[in-house]
């Protein structure tokens, strides 16, 4: 399913180097999908044209960290099998694999919570103290290798003062350092930060690629397809879910909730909209996750209507129930519903009053003709 042409540096299938978990994708990096991003970064390493700051943005678990670590490994590998690749076996590659390379440092909320002198209980955003700590060591020359790679995960949570503090390092980056900002949401970063980074946006990975990555990691094919279908294009989530049935179950519950919302009566839909709208300020992340799932459900309805089952996000019973519902709707109606969900997500991001955005969304959904009770 990976069809892009490869740069000279990238090896084809059967690339040298041991196949460890996560398995190496065809472009030679242990990253599934994101071929254009991999190509860009591989090229930067191979041509020795590494930028001092990259901003890797994309949904949670889509593969940002995997990409960043593969980049770090390629930059630091002591015996690269080809320009732009990492051997996966040398001292440097092994240390990066175990997260103990002294020149590859990760900063994120978890680290902040573990090392902050007093976190005050709350640890929902990256603070200026954390950034100061990062900047204080930024000018130290590498310990073991030629490069220092500094990963800042959860970058979308950086407080504004923290972002301003980070700007100083971005303005005068040491020659041997590359800063990788990983963010779920690009828009939450200051334009001045964005403009100093090369932005690499990661989109959801095709479901077949996610399934292939699970098979490569040793999951039996039918189960891989099943997990991949729920992953929403996020290989990181898929691999976690493959190992954690609870995660899979929670995801199924989210899907069921979205389906019940879609299948509900006009009144039920409105009640759900009001309830979610009212919890938005407290549970922003969860509401957005619910809306993303909802969008997937409506998209599936559209695909079923258009008889395009190959690209369905949801399968099995969910798809059957949707198929049933979709029969009562015109194609235009379903399309309008998809657009309404997208608008609602955009409105919420733009701080429109949550209840208003939600109510407006459900008012544009086609009415249900079936009178099944909600599950």
């Amino acid at each position: 399913m990976v069809t892009r042409s490869k740069p000279v540096a990238a090896a084809g299938p059967g690339a040298p180097g041991p196949l460890t978990t996560p398995a190496v994708a065809p472009h030679g990096w242990p990253v599934w999908g994101h071929d254009a991003a991999v190509e860009t970064l591989q090229g930067a390493v191979a041509r020795d044209r590494v930028r001092h700051a990259y901003l890797i943005a994309g949904p949670d678990a889509v593969g940002k960290t995997a990409l960043a670590l593969a980049f770090a490994a390629a930059l630091s590998c002591l015996e690269p099998p080809a320009p732009g690749l990492a051997c996966g076996a040398c001292r440097s590659c092994r240390k990066i694999g175990r997260g103990v390379h002294p020149d590859v440092q990760s900063w994120d909320l978890a680290r902040q919570a573990a090392t902050a002198e007093k976190s005050g209980g709350k640890n929902t955003s990256m603070t200026i103290e954390t950034v100061r700590e990062l900047c204080a060591t930024a000018a130290l020359r590498p310990m073991e290798g030629r490069w220092r790679v500094v990963l800042v995960d959860d970058a979308e949570t950086l407080q504004e003062t923290a972002q301003e503090a980070l700007l100083k390092t971005l303005e005068e980056p040491p020659a041997f350092m590359t800063l990788l900002l990983l963010a779920d949401d690009l828009e939450l970063l200051l334009p001045t930060i964005r403009s100093r980074c090369q932005v690499i946006e990661l989109r959801p990975v095709p479901r077949a690629t996610v399934a292939a990555s699970l098979v490569a990691a040793g999951l039996p094919e039918p189960r891989a397809v099943e997990v991949a279908a729920l992953a929403g294009g996020r290989p990181g989530w898929a691999h976690r879910a493959a190992a954690d049935p609870k995660l899979l179950q929670r995801r199924q519950e989210t899907v069921d909730r979205a389906l019940a919302w879609v299948a509900g009566s006009g009144y039920d839909r409105l009640v759900t909209a009001v309830r979610l709208g009212d919890t938005f300020t407290k549970k922003r992340g969860e509401v957005f996750a619910d809306l993303e799932t909802l969008l997937g459900v409506w998209r599936d309805a559209l695909l079923l209507h258009a008889a395009q089952p190959t690209y369905l996000t949801h399968r099995g019973e969910t798809a059957e129930r949707l198929q049933e519902l979709a029969r009562g709707w015109a194609l235009d109606d379903v399309h309008r519903a998809v657009c309404a969900v997208q608008t609602c997500i955009g409105d919420l991001e733009a701080n429109v009053r949550p209840r208003l955005a939600m109510e407006s969304m459900v008012s544009q959904w086609p009415t249900t003709t079936t009178s099944r009770p909600r599950p």
Partner: protein, 382 residues
């Protein structure tokens, strides 16, 4: 690994490296000490990724090996043992260190040595840049300079001490934007070309501590990639990572001539500054020097050292001084004056002034190897 060594040697080694053990770290292995067999000795090393300290203990080795264990726990346990042979053993691939002395025994869970950062050895760098310097000279040099480095890290270069190797001279310099300290010292051999490195001030202080009362020359090497400074002090090797960047050209900041030059006794001046500092505390540490030259040429003059705090009161002290140049007044930060007077060894000091708004210089009257520049504080008309 199977090693036997004496308790006191091991205790000393663990104490020596303990300053490099990380206290607050995202990398658990940095709280550990690396134990490894090394050509008939036991090598003990720690690093917090800013500095690294390695030392060796005489040991009899039955089986080669290496392992890292929690530095604090191992020290605490070893410190309580009698001064008798201690057996250290582990069975690869298990990462448990067994420490045994007579009937006392501990099993300490460790982390694979492979996770420990690579600490280059000074012997391996023999081909690269390497110099020798007298230990007590270096220790004094560090003490006279490091305190002038910036503490706020907003400009990383200023949080370090410049170590410039040029000809047969080592120059250390530190500056924080308000003051500058420069000290020259002699190398035992000239270097082929000038080399500037910037060492974190904290690391410099640690090196001075390790030197202690050592008398054998210290070898200093810079790794070929210019990333680390290594120093061999007796049986101990010290590593500091270097700060990237260019140190400001400090020679431009040092005034060469003074409108008013005063020479006065260091202790009397120091005492006067200390007295004034108690009043200066509530007024941004401002201490005022009012220079009164003698009535006639070559007559001794006085320096009035005064401070005023609106709430607290005021103080004046007078110190005899030989003064050349006209009457003048200048204000300095009391702490800065106290710092520099505290590190000067000679009995007589020279203060050079070019009016109330120009940088002043403090140095010893008889030695030219140390110069300290202090920016004045702005004072209103009195």
């Amino acid at each position: 690994m199977k090693v036997s060594c004496l308790q006191d040697g091991l205790q000393r080694a663990l104490a020596q490296v303990s300053r490099a053990v990380a206290t607050k770290t995202a990398l658990p292995v940095l709280s550990n000490v690396l134990l490894s067999t090394d050509e008939g000795r036991l090598r003990v090393a720690a690093t917090n990724l800013e500095i690294g300290i390695t030392t060796w203990v005489g040991a009899s080795i039955d089986e080669e090996g290496k392992l890292t264990v929690d530095a604090r726990l191992l020290s605490e346990f070893v410190n309580t043992l009698p001064n008798a042979p201690v057996q250290l053993s582990s069975e690869s691939p298990r990462t448990i260190l067994t420490v045994q002395s007579g009937r006392d025994k501990a099993g300490i869970n460790g982390i694979d040595a492979e996770d420990f950062p690579v600490i280059p050895s000074i012997d391996a760098e023999a081909e690269g840049f390497s110099v020798e310097v007298d230990p007590q000279v270096l220790r004094e040099m560090i003490g006279q300079v490091e305190f002038a480095a910036a503490t706020d890290e907003s400009r990383p270069v200023l949080a370090g001490v410049l170590a410039r190797f040029e000809g047969q001279t080592l120059t250390l310099a530190a500056a924080d934007g308000f003051r500058l300290a420069v000290r020259h010292g002699e190398l035992t051999q000239p270097v082929p070309e000038r080399l500037d490195t910037i060492v974190p001030a904290r690391a410099m202080r640690e090196l001075a501590r390790i030197i202690g009362d050592q008398t054998d020359p210290i070898r200093i090497a810079i790794t070929p990639n210019r990333s680390q400074l290594l120093a061999r002090v007796g049986e101990t090797e010290f590593l500091s990572r270097l700060i990237d960047g260019t140190f400001p050209d400090f020679r431009q900041i040092i005034p060469r001539e003074f409108a008013t030059r005063l020479e006065l006794g260091r202790e009397a001046f120091q005492n006067a500054v200390r007295r004034a500092s108690y009043f200066a505390r509530d007024n941004n540490d401002v201490v005022r020097l009012t220079v009164h030259p003698g009535e006639e040429e070559f007559m001794p003059g006085t320096v009035e050292v005064s401070a005023t705090a609106a709430e607290r009161g005021n103080s004046q002290s007078f110190v005899d001084a030989s003064i050349t140049g006209p009457e003048t007044q200048i204000a300095f930060n009391a702490r800065y004056l106290a710092d520099v007077l505290g590190v000067l060894k000679q009995g007589q000091v020279v203060v050079g002034v070019n009016g109330a708004n120009q940088a002043g210089v403090v140095k010893a009257s008889t030695a030219e190897d140390y110069t300290h520049v202090i920016m004045p504080m702005v004072i209103g008309a009195q």
